[in-house]
């Protein structure tokens, strides 16, 4: 159904090719999963396979792409291709144009020449299938990341094309949400649809995948039946996240360190607006040297909780004390000296021209002495010394994530809090980030992460806090850790 023959491609004004001599065939009814490090060319492969590179992009193109036996150049335009093939891009926000869920679906369906009854039928079936019926009147900006991903998938599915290309359709989803998408994809495969999916969650998607393709530097590094492909240890590192051994690492200094109480949370609640209760009566103590994972489904209150640690949110009830200071009366700038917060999307913070200047921003804001040495030290810690003069947005996703950590690390906070630090990273990059965080813990920092990954919580954290509906439902030491 999709065939790429010796495809090479370089974006305009770039020397480095994004795809090099790449050949791939996706047969009818097959599910091919593409994975690999960020910057490997996975999204470019999606654009090439959908005929978008041929029709919409400049740059240097070689090789041939056929969809349904027809060269993509012979399709009139993208709308013509879209009658055979549906594509879901990795940024759901950019694919939602109208103001309600139902309107979004209806607006796409009415442009396909379907009869009125057929449109109504498809609308009803697809909303039930993707569990959007109860959200039909909601505006896109009020949906969670996972709900947005479900909606853009629903719009593409509603059009009923035989071929689907999905670029990281579960990146913002928790385990429950990912399973929901998996069930939908299984149903589609059973109907005989052809699926090309870019994903990092191989283990979750394993039962769906017929062919696994691993990319690196614009080339196919390995391709074939999943079980055979992952036998290669190099491939396994990328495809199957392995965090084993990280938690057990210790630095034996011979000194006995007495834990110091850093954050004390007493009975806090938080209500957004008048009636959206995000947190209920949370009690928590966090001490120096801890490595804590906060887990829970989307909307369970994890991000709301950590925003109280550096004063971005003020509790509507109860108190938060950070190193003896009342967080409700201390400025965010003052709290930033003690608690550094790294947001889920590193692109929300970058504005400087070089990596070094980006790190310098926080250092200068707090007037930290030995500026240059501190910046160098932070960049060394996150293994980004080689990139210090580059423009931050040119870095790969994994490198940008590590740069975000460096920005906060250079401010020398006792506590470093990270919201989903491994989102969008492959197994190898995710391990690198977790190793950096472990080193920070061993250097004396307290590390708190929000994660959807059970493996990360189990293999990296010493303590796991589970949240549900704004409450802490369990707070336990990871098996094997002495409390």
């Amino acid at each position: 159904m999709i065939r790429l023959d010796s495809v090479s491609y370089a974006y305009p004004h770039t020397g480095k090719p994004a795809l090099t001599d790449l050949s791939l065939s996706v047969g009818k009814g097959q599910c091919v999963m593409v994975t690999g490090p960020s910057g490997a060319g996975k999204t470019t492969l999606c654009l090439a396979s959908a005929g978008i590179l041929a029709h919409e992009f400049g740059g240097k193109k070689e090789g041939a792409v056929t969809i349904d036996g027809r060269d993509v150049k012979n399709y009139k335009d993208l709308s013509d291709i879209a009658s055979n093939l549906g594509i879901v891009f990795d940024d759901p926000e950019a694919q939602l144009i109208f103001t309600t869920v139902e309107e979004e679906l209806l607006s796409a369906l009415e442009r396909r020449g379907f009869q009125v009854d057929e449109i109504e039928d498809r609308l009803r079936v697809i909303m039930e299938m993707t569990k959007l019926t109860t959200l039909k009147d909601r505006a896109p900006h009020t949906l969670s990341g996972g709900q947005k991903q479900r909606l853009v998938l629903a719009v593409t599915l509603a059009l009923g094309t035989g071929i689907l290309i999905l670029d990281e359709p579960t990146s913002e989803l928790d385990e429950h949400g990912t399973n929901g998408i998996l069930e939908i994809l299984k149903g589609l495969k059973a109907q005989g649809r052809t699926i090309l999916i870019v994903e990092h969650k191989f283990l979750r998607m394993r039962e769906l995948v017929d062919t696994l393709v691993v990319m690196e530097d614009g080339r196919i590094m390995a391709s074939g039946a999943p079980d055979e492909v992952i036998r290669d240890p190099g491939v396994q590192k990328i495809v199957v996240p392995d965090f084993s051994g990280i938690r057990e690492r210790t630095r034996n200094t011979g000194e006995t360190v007495i834990p110091e109480l850093l954050i004390l949370v007493k009975g806090i609640s938080h209500t957004y607006g008048e009636d959206i209760h995000a947190l209920y009566d949370i009690d928590l103590t966090i001490s120096s040297g801890e490595f804590i994972a906060i887990v829970g489904e989307n909307g369970s209150g994890k991000t709301t909780l950590i925003k109280h640690f550096n004063g971005l949110l003020k509790a509507t009830g109860g108190t938060v004390t950070v190193k003896g200071k009342d967080a409700s009366t201390t400025t965010i700038t003052e709290l930033a000296r003690d608690v550094g917060l790294v947001f889920q999307n590193p692109d929300h913070m970058f504005f400087a021209d070089t990596v070094r200047e980006e790190v310098a921003f926080g250092v200068d804001n707090l007037g930290i002495p030995d500026r240059d040495a501190v910046i160098d030290h932070a960049l060394t810690r996150v293994r980004l010394t080689h990139a210090k003069d580059l423009y931050p947005r040119w870095l790969s996703r994994g490198e940008r994530q590590r740069l975000a950590i460096a920005c906060v690390l250079a401010m020398k906070p006792a506590v470093i809090v990270l919201d989903e630090p491994t989102t969008g990273l492959d197994g190898k990059e995710a391990r690198e980030v977790m190793e950096v965080l472990k080193e920070l813990q061993l250097a004396g920092h307290t590390v708190i992460i929000i994660t959807h990954s059970r493996e990360i919580a189990r293999d990296c954290a010493d303590r796991v806090i589970t949240m549900e509906n704004g409450k802490i439902i369990s707070d336990v030491m990871t098996p094997g850790v002495l409390s």
């Binding site: 919409e56 926000e93 694919q95 700038t333 000296r337 947001f343 692109d347 970058f350 504005f351 947005r393």
Partner: protein
């Protein structure tokens, strides 16, 4: 977060009107406010619009924007009074800037026109689904690219508001303290606007592809859940025409 210019799901009478009627409403009300220089008339139009908003169940959303209108009004009046002196001088600030009756009058008229236009457009946008608007403008032969530009500009207001807030929070977490007031706002431009614009530009590529892939720019469309003119529309159109005629007559005879 206060939502700016976003469609709200209601069952008010304004929602039941076809977009064409509402476009006519905005054009007539807007034209009258631009042509008229009568303060009592412009005040009456604002009161009428507020009554319509109340009957349509949109008063809460409309009144919420009155703070913005008030701030803009003060700025407009100050600029006009300073730059357009005329008539009797009340007093002179610092021996240079005269505060005059003419300047004040023009400032107040401009402000009232501004309030009428904003409120009328707001009533239209709050009660019209973008899909219906696209269909109506398509029938009026407005090029689809312009229609989509308008719809997308409105749709992304809350997204940019939310993203701006997140970026601001990320920079605050890095110890950034631009200070409050106008100076603070100016200082915070680069750390907030650069990521906001960069992220939006990155997004525009996918948005453009989505528009083409979903065929929004094609002429093909199955007529489904269309908004046709109904009895209420005809009644409102007749009323609008009568008001427009009365206004034209009054203007030419110097009554307004």
């Amino acid at each position: 977060m206060t939502e700016i210019l976003q469609y709200v799901q209601r069952d008010g009478f304004f929602h039941r009107l076809a977009p064409l009627t509402k476009i006519l409403f905005v054009i007539i009300v807007g034209t009258m406010s631009i042509v008229s220089t009568s303060i009592p008339f412009l005040v009456s139009v604002i009161i009428a619009l507020l009554i319509i908003a109340f009957i349509a169940g949109l008063h809460r959303e409309v009144l919420r924007q009155f703070f913005l209108i008030a701030v803009m009004s003060v700025i407009l009046i100050v600029i006009t009074v300073i730059t357009l002196p005329g008539g009797t001088t009340f007093f002179v600030i610092g021996g240079i800037i005269p505060i005059t009756t003419g300047g004040l009058l023009i400032g107040i008229i401009m402000t009232l026109r501004f309030a009428v236009l904003i409120t009328a457009i707001q009533l239209f946008v709050l009660s019209t689904q973008p899909r219906d608007l696209v269909h109506t403008l398509e029938r009026m032969k407005v090029p689809v690219d312009y229609t989509l530009m308008f719809v997308i500009a409105l749709r992304f207001i809350p997204t940019l508001q939310i993203e701006g807030l997140r970026i601001h929070e990320a920079q605050l977490s890095r110890g950034y303290n631009p200070g409050s007031g106008v100076g603070g706002k100016i200082r915070s431009i680069a750390p907030v606007m650069v990521p906001l614009v960069s992220n939006s530009l990155a997004r525009s590529n996918v948005l453009g592809l989505t528009i083409d892939l979903r065929g929004y720019r094609t002429k093909v469309r199955t007529p489904i859940r269309e908004r046709h003119l109904n009895g209420l529309d005809y009644a409102v159109i007749v009323m609008l025409v009568v008001v427009a005629m009365a206004f034209t007559y009054s203007t030419f005879n110097g009554l307004v």
